[in-house]
């Protein structure tokens, strides 16, 4: 049903909510009750002065009566309805217009569920791969086991020797102290892991959080005479560990090299003309396409061609850099989805790969990806060959079919995937 057709319904809902009689409202705005009745049942169009007058009497903005729920709200409701065939999807707008409070509640709940799902993904990822958390949980469980066994002995053994009893009491005392300390350390660790700090587990994540805080664009390194990367790192208070500073330094050196080859203004001008086509941009500046990937992913957000993500992996497939975008969050720990074009590129060095992918999940987000694998730091003909693959992530063009992929098996709900290597907690755990 077209949006403005429901204006009458919204007028009626608002009037009834305010406890105003139809005849009184009609009289107040200078029309007959029967005409207002036709308007309220969407059988007469309404606009202009009369609409404004009714809105004023109902103490509401006229747009709220004509537009109803915002597009964002309707999108959230549509997402909430995905997979629920019983929901009347053709009546979403009517629902939002007639019951704005309930619609808001449903949309908020949907958003909350999505946040919780992300937290579960993150914590599961962390439980599986975070050595500190794994060791801490093991410590707590071992201590609990010792206490449980010892306490059971004391309770169930009536003829226990006094010397053994004293030993077991002492053991329980020692283990209780240890448990309290372990639990406190664990709680502190989790308490200090809110927000972006949850990401700060390894040096790579420290760098990631630092870059994210600057939207991945380092304006200080642009231009003809920037400070040295060492100086920038020395002034970056957020990088706590020496390893993180080393990683960030390597990143900045590469960033600066890219900025010299692809200066910001000429690059943005070329981007205006050629669009976000990494091949064309690489030809224009006589650089590798992977340098263009990195440059596109580090543009100031207002000059970038929409949200731009980037994933880089080494020859083992381990992600060494990840810039997520909304709807595509490469895993922080562990292996990613083997169906990503990134890994196709890794298996075919120097061959460019272009593909649209469709992420599994409630939103089924689609992205256009460009991937390329190139040798890096080649150690001469006799030296080991070190390869690095990069994948640029851009908004997908409309209409192009996407290859179904996931983030990683563990949190991917696609049950029939030929590339699955382990069960999913999303499909089987909930």
């Amino acid at each position: 049903m077209p949006r403005n057709v429901l204006t009458g319904t919204r007028i009626r809902e608002r009037r009834m909510m305010m406890g105003v009689r139809q005849a009184d409202l009609a009289h107040a705005v200078g029309i007959s009750p029967s005409y207002l009745n036709l308007i309220e049942h969407n059988r007469r169009r309404i606009g202009g002065k009369l609409l404004n007058e009714i809105a004023r009497r109902l103490e509401v903005d006229a747009a709220a009566l004509t537009e109803g729920a915002g597009a964002a709200m309707l999108d959230r409701l549509r997402v909430a309805a995905v997979g629920h065939d019983s929901a009347e999807q053709d009546r979403i707008e009517e629902f939002a217009g007639r019951f704005p409070g309930w619609a808001q509640l449903l949309a908020d709940t949907q958003r909350h569920i999505r946040r919780l799902e992300r937290t579960v993904e993150m914590l599961t990822d962390r439980m599986t791969h975070d050595p500190f958390l794994s060791a801490s949980v093991h410590e707590v469980l071992s201590t609990v086991t010792a206490i449980r066994s010892t306490a059971a002995i004391l309770i169930e053994t009536e003829d226990i020797d006094p010397e053994w009893r004293r030993r077991f009491h002492r053991n329980i005392g020692d283990e209780s102290t240890r448990l309290a300390e372990s639990a406190q350390a664990l709680v502190n660790y989790l308490d200090n892991s809110g927000g972006d700090d949850l990401l700060r587990n390894s040096p790579q994540e420290e760098v990631e959080v630092w870059l994210k805080a600057q939207s991945y664009h380092l304006a200080v390194l642009e231009g003809p005479d920037p400070p040295s990367p060492e100086t920038v790192i020395a002034q970056a208070g957020a990088l706590d560990s020496a390893s993180a500073r080393d990683l960030a330094l390597a990143y900045l050196r590469r960033y600066r090299a890219d900025a010299l080859k692809l200066p910001l203004e000429p690059f943005c001008e070329a981007l205006e003309v050629l669009g976000p086509d990494p091949g064309a941009l690489a030809d224009r500046f006589a650089v590798s396409a992977t340098a263009v990937f990195r440059r596109l992913a580090s543009l100031p957000p207002e000059r970038a061609p929409g949200p731009v993500g980037l994933a880089i992996c080494d020859g083992s497939g381990t992600l060494t850099f990840r810039k997520p975008v909304e709807g595509f969050n490469p895993p922080r720990f562990g292996a990613a989805c083997p169906l990503w074009p990134l890994y196709q590129a890794l298996s075919r060095p120097t061959m460019p790969v272009r593909g649209v992918i469709e992420l599994a999940g409630r939103l089924s987000a689609r992205f256009l990806t460009y991937a390329l694998c190139l040798p890096r730091r080649v150690g001469g003909f006799g030296g080991p060959q070190v390869f690095e693959a990069s994948m640029l992530i851009l908004p997908a063009p409309p209409g192009e079919q996407g290859q179904p992929v996931g983030a990683s098996c563990r949190i991917c709900p696609r049950e029939d995937c030929v590339a699955r290597r382990e069960p999913s907690i999303i499909a089987h755990g909930f």
Partner: protein, 122 residues
């Protein structure tokens, strides 16, 4: 000579508690705490049953179990595996490597006794 169990575990108070309950049940209990030399301990002492913790210093209990199964003399020894991880993949790993039983911490004394009696009936 009573039935003989080798407990490979590095938590002293768990060792003491298990040693106590098994001794009262008639078991002769030997203990060993280091992962690196655990296989040698099994070969030297030739127990009737092994209780093996997964997380040991220097060596994983999974590795030790794999090596026990590869030895002709002790390959069929009943092994009760103890772990703090109870996820399905840990259970699958234990089964794949040939654990006779798999028990997740925190377990009860009764469970340990029942498992041992089942693995080595009187």
């Amino acid at each position: 000579m009573g039935k003989h169990v080798l407990l490979i575990e590095d938590e002293p108070n768990i060792i003491e508690a298990i040693r106590f309950i098994l001794s009262r049940d008639g078991w002769r209990v030997d203990t060993h705490s280091d992962g690196q030399s655990a296989l040698d301990a099994v070969l030297d002492r030739r127990p009737d049953v092994v209780i093996l913790d997964v997380m040991l210093p220097n060596r994983s209990g999974y590795d030790i179990l794999r090596e026990i199964r590869e030895q002709d003399e002790i390959g069929s020894l009943p092994v009760l595996l103890l772990t703090a991880k109870g996820q399905a993949k840990d259970r699958e790993m234990a089964e794949r490597l040939g654990a006779s039983r798999f028990m997740t911490k925190p377990f009860s004394n009764t469970e340990v006794l029942a498992a041992l009696r089942e693995l080595f009936p009187q």
